[in-house]
């Protein structure tokens, strides 16, 4: 095993990630601050045409309630459209396999999942959805759900940065800009690179091949490259194929794998710098970035270590079950860590087959709130909630009414922030505990014992965390899971978005207090340390009990040779 090789690859990963996200982040800031940038001459006219065409007055500024209502309406229609597409796909074009209409509850679950940027897949792409639905439905929502996340983040930034204001921007303007200047250009570039690596992109029928043994094998195809690009960049993760990025047509080469991992974190990491730039505090952005990187690397290290540790039961140093031989341990673990921190549901290995500790880390990454880079936009506004709580507790400890970047953090902000932090956690625990004792919940289970517990816990963690990756081993395409998980996804998404916008709406009205030596600084090592502590303690306090009798217990049992 070549540890040095793995380390160098990680280094290369970071060397590319950090400068790229810095450059992109600053560019995004220009886009939202209305400054001139190089894409404006190319797309500016098209953008204005869109506004005129749809009758949007970008000058109209919205308060937080109007912004939220517009967002919810937009997402609701996205949901209706997705459901409609799935229910009528047999009448729609580009359905070479003549796939029938999707079952209603599955269609609802899938629609909710793509609208909430979760991309949980209770279905298998190649056997359920036509090319048309994949393109006009899933791919479109991949863009729009990501853009929704970015819009919320930008609205929040305005709330923090504006002094004595009322409005937090125009939702339609923010969504359009996000798609046009951020998601589309990057996706186009990335899908061309993927094409060059051999990712398929075609409207042809599935190909039937005859293997050497003389057996028939159906090889699914489709317009894949264009969808994989946004699936990775928009922290969506909904694979074109059931096996997602473990399938060679989604992820054919080491280079494609490397770039796909990079693209998972690219936009979330860039947005940290956008945040810093727009708030006029680059040092604060670096502090947040440092916190994210630290937790990410710590999780990666534990995960990697547990995978390469000698296994007594199987008498082996490395377990390759459930992993692509093409990628090996490091790339599988890097992927699982990156996707779970970043709320990207894509997989290139089977998380269920990872060591119990790796599985625990993957789960904990999501349970921390998808804030370590996190979903596009969502990661940062989620992190903001933890910043608010950190600022509040540590602000009290320096004897001042807590302030964040000059804005006072008072009861209203605390109320919404704590609600947004707790809702997804409560959803995870509540739905999992219902599932583990009910007949409907247990009948879908493949494994018993702690592994079974992990399977259920992971499913709801993934749903409420809007991650979308699956632990596998649990058949969730049942009415029970389709309904409960849809609710969990909605809570995980809008239970955070609405509070964040409410906080933005409250902050925007406040004056900005200048910093003094008595003010708690949010851009130094001390603050980074506290933020990490709050994130880990809140996460740990909530999930320590269940994780210890789930994956941790499984780890202990496996050590003594008991498996399930």
């Amino acid at each position: 095993m070549n540890y040095l090789h793995d380390f160098l690859q990680l280094l290369l990963f970071l060397i590319l990630l950090i400068p790229l996200s810095y450059i992109l982040g600053n560019f995004f800031a220009k886009v939202f601050q209305g400054e001139k940038h190089f894409l404006q001459p190319v797309l500016g006219k098209f953008e204005n045409f869109l506004y005129r065409f749809s009758g949007i007055d970008t000058q109209h500024q919205m308060d937080w309630k109007e912004y939220t209502i517009n967002l919810l309406i937009f997402n609701f229609f996205g949901f209706l459209f997705l459901v409609a597409l799935q229910l009528s796909q047999q009448f729609l074009p580009f359905n070479p396999q003549h796939l029938p209409k999707v079952d209603l509850l599955l269609a609802i679950n899938t629609a909710v999942s793509f609208v909430t940027n979760t991309n949980w897949q209770s279905y298998a792409g190649e056997t359920t959805l036509s090319y048309f639905v994949q393109m006009a439905g899933m791919a479109v929502q991949n863009f729009l759900s990501a853009a929704t996340g970015i819009a919320v983040m930008v609205a929040l930034i305005r709330g923090i940065a504006t002094r004595n204001g009322k409005t937090i921007g125009n939702f339609w303007n923010d969504v359009t800009k996000s798609v046009l200047y951020i998601l589309l250009p990057l996706s186009i570039i990335f899908s061309i690179i993927l094409l060059s690596q051999g990712v398929v992109d075609t409207f042809s029928h599935y190909v039937t091949a005859v293997t050497i043994e003389g057996q028939k094998q159906i090889i699914p195809l489709g317009p894949v490259a264009s969808q994989v690009a946004i699936k990775q960049l928009g922290t969506n993760g909904g694979g074109f194929f059931n096996t997602n990025s473990a399938f060679p047509f989604e992820n054919p080469t080491p280079l494609s794998n490397f770039l796909e991992v990079l693209s998972i974190l690219l936009i979330p990491a860039s947005l940290v710098f956008t945040y810093g730039k727009m708030l006029g505090s680059k040092k604060h952005a670096w502090t947040i970035f440092g916190v994210m990187l630290f937790v990410f690397l710590a999780g990666l290290a534990v995960s990697y270590y547990s995978e390469i540790s000698y296994n007594h039961v199987f008498n082996t140093q490395k377990i390759m079950e459930g992993k692509e031989l093409r990628f090996g341990i490091f790339n599988s673990v890097l992927w699982s860590t990156a996707t779970t921190v970043a709320s990207n549901g894509s997989v290139n290995s089977m998380i269920s087959s990872l060591s119990p500790i790796s599985g625990l880390i993957a789960m904990l990454n999501i349970q921390l709130g998808e804030i370590i880079f996190g979903g596009v936009g969502a990661g940062l506004y989620g992190m903001f909630l933890f910043i608010v709580i950190t600022v509040f507790i540590s602000g009290l400890m320096v004897g001042r009414t807590p302030e964040y970047l000059g804005k006072k953090i008072e009861a209203y902000e605390i109320k919404w922030s704590i609600l947004a932090v707790l809702l997804p956690s409560i959803a995870i625990l509540f739905f999992s505990s219902v599932a583990v004792v009910s007949k409907n919940g247990l009948s879908s289970l493949l494994n018993k014992g702690p592994h079974g517990l992990s399977e259920i816990l992971y499913a709801f963690t993934s749903a409420a965390g809007n991650n979308g990756s699956a632990f596998a081993g649990l058949n969730t395409n049942t009415n029970f899971y389709n309904i409960l998980m849809s609710i969990a996804m909605l809570i995980g998404r809008y239970g955070v978005i609405v509070p964040v916008l409410a906080v933005a709406g409250s902050l925007v009205k406040k004056n900005i207090a200048p910093a003094t030596s008595g003010t708690l600084a949010t851009d130094n090592f001390m603050f980074a340390f506290l933020l990490v502590a709050v994130i880990l303690i809140v996460g740990a306090l909530t999930f320590f009990p269940v994780l210890s009798i789930g994956p941790f217990l499984e780890h202990l049992l496996m050590q003594s040779g008991i498996t399930f």
Binding site: M397, R400, V421, L422, S432, V436, L541
Partner: protein
């Protein structure tokens, strides 16, 4: 600080015994529900009690459940006790105030004449007469007359103060006694609404409203409590999963055990002490002789960014003092001092007294008997702008006519009638130059002439209060900028500002300037504190986020401010700021401590309830590796955690009452220290504490 005079021993026997009784009275659910965290503990305790007695009625006595039940009740009682002690101390404090509110008979003036009424019948606008020896029946304003008043009942200060109509010293407080003369007082508050009444309500917790930060913190604590309820309830289901699917024995996860886990996890430490912290903050304020109109104002004091102070009486002693003799060429300094002293012997103004004292200090020139000298004193008159002395000729010297006055006045005086002789001309130029220098340094020149010959210049200076520089340095460390307001010209103001070490000043200030400055600072997002006493300060006091009015000030000023300093000591604000900051810091530190504690409690309770899973012998299952404290048994582990959780409340009561230590230093240093003590300490202490309790329980065979 001498203002600590009202403080008392932390635990008074009387207060404690009353508090113990109150702890039980506060078990009333209606009163418990005001504190959600402790209310949850109360429900848990009641539930455990119910289970214990149900079991008992079925013939199953569980000593373990009994102990859990008792300690859960203790947890509630301890939290009640903390609040009761704080209230008791507040009550004791307010008793001093209440004494002054005795039912006095007032002499109300009506159209028909004088009527004797009880003080509680007085209403706003009534006019009462007070004579020597009378208690002033209510808060009010002197509308006629002048009197010396003994305010020791409320300030503890025995020296009488002067209260007179008009001007800045017209306000009187109910319960104080007139020592001489008689005055007419217009009543300005209804009974039960006086400042004293408000303060009593605040320290007695009866009408204490939660402050904004306290509300925010309560929300955070409630949120955490809710999530822990979900954690604990869901845990029961996760255990049942093992029972359903693999028939594991999960009977260890009983309701009393889960309640214990819940109570240990929810922030009971801070929850139990929160209101004690708030009450004792008001109590500490009162110990410093400051009356606050609301707890909100005290908290706001901790947030002050800019402090506006009047120069006179705050930064300087209030009067100009002689600090130096600068003789003209050919004149000795001692001669000048001697002449200056002679000219000032009968001058009873503070300035005159200071010249006499300075001459004595510098040259040992004693005060001479005025009558022996047979001198004729010329008092200061508005006409001449000079004062001085005429000494008859003696065998030693000829007639001396000494005058002192401002440059302008002396110039007029010596050029009167005659031309200035060439000798004096040179000296006059000299004095002019010296005068400019003095003004540059913030002083005032006073010229001394003898027989129209210029002897030299006395430098009069505003003397900056001793130690004020350090106090401003402290404020700067806290992150508070000080702004001096003065009517002086810019030159003088600059010099005094530099000497006192204020960060900024407004010279030649008019009342509107104060108001404008406050508004400007506020619009740039700053919190402004202001100290004032005059009626013209009232708008500024009202505009400021924290306005402290001097008790000696006018009624208008006292009504405009949100705090009143009974000692009328302007630097008191520093203490008020400290108390405000202490309040927040104590809450923050105990919250951190409370949450950090949870880590160790997990390591005590989770292995205790989960170690039976997949065990071969019934207790030492795989998860016993989490029992890093090596606690002797599951029961002992759970009980130790519950006991620690209850006892820590009692241990921290003194801290909650006194507040954690505040040192004026930068935020980052404060944070570092508090994180180290309450964060890291909060992680480690319970590990040790729980282990010790476990050893004791095992030793006593209680489990």
């Amino acid at each position: 600080m001498e203002t600590k005079k009202n403080s008392k021993a932390l635990f008074d026997k009387k207060i404690i015994s009353k508090a113990i009784i109150d702890s039980f009275i506060k078990l009333n659910p209606l009163s418990l529900i005001k504190n959600p965290v402790i209310f949850i503990v109360g429900i848990g305790a009641a539930l455990t009690t119910l289970i214990f007695f149900t079991d008992l009625s079925e013939g199953n006595f569980s000593a373990f459940n009994l102990q859990i039940m008792l300690w859960l009740w203790f947890t509630v009682l301890f939290a009640n006790f903390a609040e009761a002690v704080a209230e008791g101390r507040g009550k004791a404090q307010s008793e001093n105030l209440r004494k002054s509110r005795t039912n006095t008979i007032a002499r109300k003036k009506t159209d028909a004449g004088e009527v004797k009424v009880s003080a509680i019948e007085l209403r706003i606008g009534d006019v009462v007469i007070c004579e020597t020896g009378d208690l002033i029946p209510a808060d009010g304003e002197v509308i006629e007359g002048i009197a010396s008043v003994d305010e020791s009942a409320i300030t503890g200060e025995s020296a009488p103060v002067i209260r007179e109509s008009g001007g800045d010293r017209s306000a009187v407080t109910g319960g104080t006694r007139v020592l001489s003369d008689n005055i007419l007082i217009k009543v300005t508050s209804n009974p039960g609404e006086t400042y004293i009444d408000k303060m009593i309500a605040l320290v007695e917790n009866a009408k204490r409203k939660k402050t904004p930060n306290e509300i925010a913190l309560s929300i955070l604590l409630s949120g955490l409590s809710i999530v822990f309820i979900v954690v604990v309830v869901s845990l029961k289901f996760f255990f049942n999963y093992y029972h359903i699917t693999l028939s594991q024995d999960v009977s260890s996860v009983s309701i009393p055990v889960l309640t214990s886990l819940l109570v240990c996890l929810i922030p009971t430490t801070i929850g139990g002490l929160l209101s004690a912290i708030g009450i004792s903050g008001m109590d500490r304020l009162l110990q410093h002789n400051v009356i606050a109109m609301s707890g909100r104002a005290v908290e706001a004091a901790g947030d002050i960014d800019v402090l506006l102070l009047d120069k006179t009486g705050t930064i300087t002693l209030g009067n100009r003092m002689a600090t130096e003799f600068i003789p003209a060429p050919g004149i000795s300094e001692k001669y000048l001092a001697d002449a200056a002293q002679l000219a000032s012997l009968a001058d009873e103004t503070p300035e005159g007294r200071s010249i006499v004292v300075l001459a004595k200090d510098m040259f040992g020139i004693r005060e001479r008997n005025i009558h022996e000298l047979d001198a004729h004193f010329v008092p200061f008159s508005a006409q001449t702008q000079m004062s001085g002395v005429d000494l008859p000729a003696t065998e030693k010297s000829h007639t001396k006519i000494i005058r002192k006055g401002s440059l302008e006045a002396i110039k007029r005086y010596i050029s009167e009638g005659t031309k200035i002789d060439p000798n004096s001309q040179g000296n006059f130029m000299f004095t002019q130059m010296v005068g400019v220098d003095i003004a540059l340094e913030g002083g005032t020149p006073l010229i001394v002439v003898e027989n129209k010959n210029i002897l030299g210049v006395i430098q009069l200076k505003d003397v900056v209060k001793g130690g004020i520089n350090e106090r401003f340095a402290q404020l700067r460390k806290m992150g508070i900028r000080t702004v001096m307001i003065t009517g002086d010209n810019k030159l003088t103001a600059t010099a005094i500002a530099a000497e006192a070490g204020v960060d900024d000043f407004i010279s030649e200030a008019k009342p509107e300037d104060k108001l404008k400055r406050i508004r400007d600072e506020q619009s740039s997002g700053k919190m402004v504190g202001m100290i004032g006493d005059g009626t013209n300060d009232a708008p500024a006091l009202a505009q400021a986020d924290v306005g402290i009015a001097m008790n000696s000030g006018t009624q208008a000023a006292r009504e405009a401010g949100n705090m009143i300093d009974l000692d009328s000591n302007p630097t008191k604000l520093i203490e008020v700021v400290e108390i405000g900051k202490q309040l927040l810091m104590t809450r923050g530190a105990l919250t951190t401590f409370s949450i950090a504690n949870d880590v160790s409690k997990y390591f005590a309770i989770i292995p205790a309830i989960a170690m039976s899973l997949f065990s071969t012998n019934g207790f030492n299952g795989p998860l016993s590796v989490l029992n890093i404290m090596r606690l002797s048994s599951p029961q002992s582990a759970i009980l130790s955690a519950v006991i620690f959780n209850a006892l820590i409340i009692i241990f921290l009561v003194p801290l909650a009452l006194k507040g954690i230590k505040y040192r004026p230093e930068s935020a980052i240093n404060l944070l570092k220290r508090n994180i180290l003590i309450y964060g890291v300490g909060g992680l480690i202490v319970p590990f040790i504490g729980i282990k010790i309790i476990d050893l004791i329980l095992t030793f006593l065979k209680l489990v």
